[in-house]
Amino acid sequence: MADTGLTQARRVAGAPTRRAAYEARIRRRSNLIAAASTAAVMLAVVVLVPLAPGWEAVQRSFFNGRVFVETFPGLLEAFLLDVAIFAWCAPSIALVGLVIALCRDVRAPALFPLRAFGAVFTDIFRGLPVILVIYLIGFGVPGLGLPRPWNSPYLWGSLALILVYSAYVAEVIRSGIDSIHQSQRSAAASLGLSEADTMRYVVLPQALRNVVPANMNLLIALQKDVALLSFIGPVEIFRQAGVYKSLMANFTPYVGAAVIFLAITIPATRYADYLMARQQRRRR
């Protein structure tokens, strides 16, 4: 017995350690169990759902291949509008959010109004449903009698999104600024750096890096909320799907729209999760 122990202990260089071998065995077993249980669930879904008495009707209305093929290209085209709105909103949101966050951090008494403005801004726009802001600004402001093209629903709808989302981004950035330890500001001050330089070169770079994952989640939410602009006119993918639905009396276009959304948001969500996990690992 003692002999085997010794032989095991004196393993060949490069061969797996006892622990590595044990862990490989455990890993193989858990993979097997996971695969088996996943297969069982899939089988249940694939076999049992079609057995439901209403399945055929549901399939005809929601998973209609003919309708899907007919409407998908139109949906994709409408989705380009979502992408465009997103593309011009996102940078503005980043900028406005940053400015608002900085407003809330100013300490000089002369700039108190700025600070108050930042607080009121975030309170209001985080406190309102997005769709309400879109209606009020999208119809309300142009209703004041602005001439074309300054009354465009694209313009004011986007502004509504920018206002709401920059309120959230501002809060995220502020939490990032707060998370930077006082000793960093102290160190910068001790070198004679001004408050502005301290913020610009020491605090913000670290704060912004810390809040990248949180902001990724906001971006994903924004990508979905772009669809709300359809309430004031623009025919983006959600509206286009609704039009198809009503013309064909069939819900499949909504499924098509969902597929397109997921194709974007799932990878984005995974990426955000990855960033978040990486940051957690770094902190440890």
Binding site: S183, Q184, S186, A187, A188, A189, S190, L191, G192, L193, S194, D197, Y201, V202, P205, Q206, R209
Partner: protein, 243 residues
């Protein structure tokens, strides 16, 4: 000779608690003064008061005959003249060692990278870190980080350096390399005030030892006197605990 730095009746409170209760202290040019005392006795606060990271409540701090503790003064020019190094290094983690050192001279003195490069490189070489300039703080050992922090303060060419227990967070085998830096600075004639628990080092090099107790300098004198024959009972008790 008039002192480079003189404190007279300096007081500082945090809310109700008075932490510095009337400190008088003179530091001559090129002198090394060590502050010793129990934890919580006010060493860090006193150092932070001297380079105006904390505004003092009362008393005067004379730097070359100018009262820098006058309320309402812009503290920034003073901070350029008095550098400080902290126990926890406080390097900027998103910058390389070199960027850490260059930030203040670039922003405050308006110097270009190119103009600074030879100066900074010389500093790194002098303290044995010429091969670590492009490393980020988390790629450096504690001793290396602390030396970068010292270089960062030196890059502003201060007249006085303050050190707040800069070896306390280091593993024992790394303490020596940081103390060597202090030795070197002292030899070059830098005026320095240290808060320290390294009694051997203080005894060897300090021109003056100040024993802080409850926010006051209870006793001060050259190390030969203070260590060998303290007058105060509390000093004696403290020394018997740490020596």
């Amino acid at each position: 000779m008039t002192a480079k730095l003189s404190l007279r009746g300096v007081r500082k409170s945090f809310g109700e608690a008075e932490v510095i209760r009337g400190v008088d202290l003179d530091v001559g040019k090129g002198e090394m003064v060590c502050l010793i005392g129990a934890s919580g006795s006010g060493k860090s606060t006193l150092l932070r008061c001297i380079n105006l990271l904390e505004p003092v409540d009362d008393g005067a701090i004379w730097l070359d005959g100018e009262d820098i503790a006058e309320p309402g003064r812009d503290p920034r020019p003073v901070r350029e003249r008095i550098g400080i190094v902290f126990q926890s290094y406080n390097l900027f983690p998103h910058m390389t060692a070199e960027e850490n050192v260059m930030l203040a001279p670039r922003r405050i003195r308006g110097k270009t990278k190119a103009a600074l490069a030879p100066v900074v490189e010389r500093l790194f070489t002098r303290f044995g870190l010429s091969d670590r300039m492009q490393h980020y703080p988390d790629q450096l050992s504690g001793g290396q980080q602390q030396r970068v922090a010292i270089i960062r303060a030196l890059a502003m060419e201060p007249e006085i350096m303050l050190f707040d227990e800069i070896t306390s967070a280091l593993d024992p085998e790394l303490v020596g390399e940081v103390l060597d830096v202090l030795r070197q600075l002292h030899a070059e004639g830098m005026t320095m005030i240290l808060a320290t628990h390294e009694m051997g080092f203080a005894r060897e090099l300090a021109d003056k030892i100040c024993f802080l107790d409850g926010g006051r300098i209870l006793e001060q004198g050259p190390p030969s006197e203070l260590f060998a024959d303290p007058r105060e009972e509390r000093t004696r008790a403290f020394l018997s605990r740490v020596l």
